[in-house]
Symmetry: C2
């Protein structure tokens, strides 16, 4: 790895092959805080896409959010399903409760629109499989919104692991915690309704260390184990705190913890035979990521210009559409995570390691 | 917690109540590299003990090591068991292969000598129980040599956790890895013979994150899970790489990894409801430990004068004898770790969570 290039060009988009193009017009489906406060500003900053349509359950909200920008059409879910303004967007970004993604994907696919679907793809692996099928049947591109995969820190970490700079990866630690009762002070939120979410913490943020490990190793899990518990009444019977292990081919294990009711923190470490790599903080878009690599006698602490993870993600998705390239986190990739998470819930229930087929 | 005191007096020995005393005279049993290169120099620096006898399987080695210091008597194991020079020492430090500790403990107890026994106490919980019984029957003090418990960084971390500065502890990450094939380039070493060692990596260094978690939380494990694998031929059928989980009362889990064939690295992190604490590096005596504490908006990175972990440990043991105080890491405390490790080996074999009684 060229140190000069690493220092001069840490945040370069290794996936980018075209410089400019007519932007991909996005319909944003679901107008919760994440879309309004994170996704829309990120798209504003993007090179390859633009928000042309916003879709909400509430006509009033759709209009209000549409009016917050220029040239944006506001639609209700009904309008969206009916095909209103269907010529005004090329692709959809779906950010509704997990179990409802499928209905918006189905409409998008029926209208020949490409899909960027928030993670987790669905509340169940059955739901995720249906999403994959629907998109395949209608031949639309499906990408799952794993924002870590386009974060420059994670991509450089992946280069470092891939080039063998830390030797053979052996053990991974991943952690992500936040405090949902403070962040979203509503006991009736969909994240705490397993029918809508598929669980609580594991399916929501367990995906971050899991998917980042998969991406860095370029391997899929072969077995999992998990243990869940709850302390807060909102999480009664749910997985508020989770400790889980993921086994990968080649004797690599990941030891991970996630919590939706603890101090805000995140870290990700890979220990190899010849070195160690840590990104900390890692998973929250508002934290400045830092990357440290140790091998032999020295450690490099890398600070770098932070990129908006969502801008990188939207541009990557749009660039895939523009260049007719398959996104890496496609539907089958996302399905593997849902299957692993389901297996972890089973593992936690049975107190057993579950092998993945 | 008083910041001024913390900065002025980070390394103070909170356990120390007397300032000087006739030193405890130690017989060191087993003269491998750890005793010669780490323990003896540490005792040289100590306030409360001195090396008066050294004991080896080889008379030549015993004499050579005895002659490396002043006023030290060299004994063979046979001499030791026979009670030769029994008036020349008050206590013994046992650092032989794990399964053989018992025979030296038995002799020490029979002679009314107090015992500092290297970790793990024994290769099996049966062996550990016998050691506890033997010392109880002869009314000699038994301490297990957990050097992390007298490391100032760990003690200050324990104060921080105990005072609730990071809130309720929720999730712990612990990691320790080294490269035994490089460190001890001999495939016939006792560490790789389960009859002598009780396993390979887990029983040897898995104890570090496990016992440090127990000590910081002041709680014992209630359930464990583990997964082991091996890549190097020396570890065929053994636990070269281990990923394990430990559950504690009050919904606290520790996610740990240890390897005897990877890059040298160690870290220990506690995430609580109100903050986070990390010691990194943590477990190797030759690494300068650092402690970071984050709560709310700020992080304190604490660097401090490093103390020789073994000097602290020997002085703590000697001070317990001088003041007639029970050591915290006593035999029953050490037995809990062996039982947890045995349960982890069973868990790994069965792919199941094992509850501890």
């Amino acid at each position: 790895m060229d140190l000069e290039a690493l220092l001069a060009d840490f945040t370069h988009r290794d996936w980018q092959t075209v410089d400019d193009s007519e932007p991909i017009r996005l319909a944003l489906v679901g107008l919760g805080w994440w879309v309004r406060e994170e996704a829309m500003p990120a798209i504003e900053e993007s090179d390859f896409c633009t928000t042309s349509v916003v879709v909400s359950g509430s006509a009033e909200k759709a209009t209000r959010v549409a009016n917050s920008g220029e040239g944006i059409t506001g639609l209700t879910y009904e309008d969206y399903h009916d095909g209103t303004a269907v010529t005004e967007y090329d692709a959809v970004y779906i950010c509704t409760p997990n179990s409802t993604h499928i209905e918006y994907v189905r409409t998008a696919a029926r209208h020949g629109k490409h899909v960027l679907c928030e993670k987790p793809m669905a509340a169940t692996s059955e739901g995720a499989k249906r999403i994959v099928e629907v998109c395949a049947d209608e031949e639309v591109t499906l990408m799952v919104a794993y924002r870590m995969q386009t974060d420059p820190a994670v991509r450089r970490a992946r280069d470092i692991v891939g080039e063998g700079i830390i030797g053979e990866p052996r053990q991974i630690h991943g952690h992500m915690s936040d405090c949902v009762p403070d962040l979203i002070p509503n006991p009736d939120q969909w994240r705490l309704d397993p029918e809508l979410s598929g669980g609580a913490t594991l399916i929501d943020i367990g995906l971050y260390p899991l998917n980042t490990a998969r991406f860095l190793l370029d391997r899929d899990p072969i077995a999992v184990y998990a243990e869940t518990n709850a302390t807060h009444e909102w999480f009664d019977g749910l997985d508020e705190h989770v400790s889980f292990q993921v086994s990968f081919e080649g004797c690599v294990s990941a030891a991970c913890t996630v919590s939706h009711n603890a101090f805000n923190a995140s870290h990700f470490t890979v220990v190899g035979t010849e070195g160690k790599l840590t990104i900390e903080p890692v998973f929250f878009p508002w934290d400045d990521r830092e990357l440290a690599v140790s091998t032999g006698e020295a450690t490099a602490d890398l600070s770098f210009e932070q990129r908006n993870q969502m801008t990188e993600e939207f541009d990557y998705f749009a660039h895939c559409l523009i260049t007719d390239t398959d996104p890496v986190p496609d539907g089958r990739h996302g399905l593997v995570d849902i299957e692993a998470v389901e297996a972890m819930y089973t593992a936690a229930e049975r107190g057993e390691r579950i092998e993945l087929s």
